[in-house]
């Protein structure tokens, strides 16, 4: 009986992980913990703004974030933050303002999920990218962000001129 309960509980956890939330195996944390970790480590923040049940988030998780090399690249070089577009969970912005995770979507003018936001270690926004993206897209964004190219060029200029 206990085994059945454990299996049921495990299947519930699995369903939750598959249907929503960040991709499995990545060290995503909440907004406040992520901002604190980024300030301490000096790493930029990669914020995954997803929605519980979001089909395109699921698609991106399966098609893109399943790539082992991408997982290593982002896990090692970014503080990974996950925010739920409809959650009432509270977070504190770098300004000190406390808002809900859902309200962050208003501030980001989020049109659709997933929305990927790159932030400096201090929490200042570098850029935000909506919708499904490929492994190569995320590799390019990493070069743009961690290479500091964003300080001189727009993303379009960078992508147009990349070799």
């Amino acid at each position: 009986m206990n085994l059945i309960r454990m299996l049921l509980a495990a299947s519930c956890l699995w369903a939750t992980a598959v249907l929503a939330d960040p991709p499995p195996g990545y060290p995503f944390v909440g907004f406040d913990a992520g901002l604190k970790a980024a300030r301490a480590s000096g790493k930029p923040i990669f914020l995954y703004f997803g929605r519980y049940g979001c089909a395109w988030c699921d698609h991106t998780n399966k098609k893109t974030f399943s790539d082992a090399a991408l997982k290593t690249l982002y896990s090692e070089n970014y503080v990974l933050v996950y925010v739920d577009a409809e959650s009432g969970k509270r977070l504190t912005l770098p300004s000190g303002e406390r808002i809900t995770e859902a309200e962050l979507g208003v501030r980001l003018q989020a049109f659709a999920t997933p929305l990927f936001v790159y932030l400096t270690p201090q929490g200042d926004k570098i850029m935000q990218i909506p919708g499904f993206k490929t492994v190569q897209d995320f590799v390019d964004y990493d070069r743009y962000v961690r290479g500091g190219v964003y300080k001189q060029k727009t993303l379009l200029e960078f992508l147009g001129g990349k070799s």
């Binding site: 929503a20 089909a55 303002e97 406390r98 049109f111």
Partner: protein, 392 residues
């Protein structure tokens, strides 16, 4: 035949409600770049009109941590009186209802528990000893109810309570979960209405279908609730095996006519254009009908936020929200004209340059509309603004 149909349609179409607006007033006395007021609450019950006194509640961090406040403005006063602090420790998402003759009942979350208090005077009471959030209130006659989301195992579930009111004292007569079983997923953001027949309707945001779906339940006596049903007529589900469905969130309810109820919420069924404002009506049958999109075509390709519906026993009904169709966030409203929601109208003082958002509203006994919103300015700080309007 077509001309006759057109004529009938025109006759059935009440004159577009045009509103005459008062000069706006600032509600909050503490402003500054580091002071952040918020009007968020379950069912967005942030303003009420009791007799000739307007009451507004909000949360801000002027004292270093989030606290809840109430400001009142008697009709004879030119400005809002100094605000009253409702809370002693971290406070969020306050709501207010009118009790008549200048009296109010407010409720809020403080230190992880929901509280309520009669104002002026009165003493705050805890509505439950359990961890609880997102409280809201509803009243009809002497029937006062509260609803909140209460921790039950891993998740929150919706609890409805009948409150007793004796002079300035409040007490909980009985509190019970809408559903007896433990929640299998998160429930939150309850909206509550007591209809003219004294029945109680509660709607909330529910994740049992692995995405956010507004559910609704009714009770004839405030004790036994019907099985929960979807408020939406959109059968959201996974697409090609991906995800679990498009979300819909933050349901709000309002009395509509003698026994009817109107619901408005944010809905992502058209997932390419952000959330849209949708509505449904229960004419008194305790069953919500087909869903209607509230915003007009000018707002179609724009995300809507912070939607609310306000109505009254006379059948007046107004939906409000904010969106940035004109470049920056403005507060919009749409009147129900008996057949559909009319053209979207920007609230004059809550539109134009700058960011105006987060409307909360109430109709008073005469049908005047009272609207409160946030006017954001990064340098000067955010002001809470208020205006009222009468139909021409």
């Amino acid at each position: 035949m077509r001309a006759a149909a057109l004529l009938l349609a025109m006759l059935a179409w009440p004159a577009q409600a045009a509103w005459t607006w008062s000069e706006p007033l600032t509600v909050n006395s503490a402003h500054g770049a580091a002071v952040f007021p918020h009007l968020e609450s379950a069912n967005r019950r942030g303003v009420a009109v009791s007799g000739d006194t307007v009451g507004v509640v909000w949360e801000d961090n002027r004292d270093g941590n989030p606290q809840c406040y109430l400001a009142m403005k008697p009709a004879a006063a030119a400005a809002f009186l100094a605000e009253v602090r409702l809370s002693a420790s971290d406070c969020f998402e306050p709501v207010v209802l009118a009790l008549g003759r200048g009296r109010f009942v407010a409720a809020w979350e403080e230190a992880g528990r929901v509280h309520a208090r009669i104002l002026p005077g009165g003493t705050a009471i805890r509505l439950t000893e359990a961890e609880s959030v997102q409280v809201t209130l509803a009243l009809h006659g002497d029937r006062l109810y509260a609803a909140w989301a209460e921790q039950a195992g891993r998740f929150h579930r919706i609890v409805v309570a009948r409150l007793a009111l004796a002079n300035d004292a409040l007490s909980v007569m009985r509190a019970q979960p809408v559903e007896a079983q433990m929640p299998s997923e998160e429930q939150g953001w309850p909206a509550l209405v007591v209809a003219g027949d004294d029945s109680v309707t509660v709607a909330w945001e529910d994740r049992r279908y692995r995405h956010s779906v507004p559910l609704v339940s009714h009770s004839g006596d405030g004790q036994t609730f019907t099985a929960s049903a979807r408020l939406t007529d959109h059968k959201s589900g996974s697409v090609d095996g991906l995800g679990a469905g498009s979300g819909a969130m933050r349901p709000t309810l309002a009395n509509w006519g003698e026994n009817g109820i109107a619901a408005v919420w944010l809905d992502k069924r058209d997932f390419l254009s952000g959330y849209d404002v949708y509505a449904a009506f229960d004419p008194g049958t305790r069953r919500f009908g087909p869903n209607l999109r509230v915003q007009d075509s000018f707002g179609d390709n724009m995300a809507q936020w912070h939607a609310q519906v306000v109505g009254d026993a006379a059948g007046r009904l107004v939906a409000l929200w904010d969106d940035a169709r004109d470049g920056t966030s403005d507060v919009w409203l749409a009147d129900w004209n008996g057949e559909a929601f009319g053209d979207n109208i920007a609230v004059p003082a809550a539109s134009g340059p700058g960011a105006q958002s987060d409307p909360v509203a109430a109709l008073d006994a005469a049908g005047s509309l009272h609207v409160v919103w946030l006017d954001r300015d990064q340098q000067a700080g955010t002001r809470i603004r208020y205006a009222h309007a009468e139909r021409k």
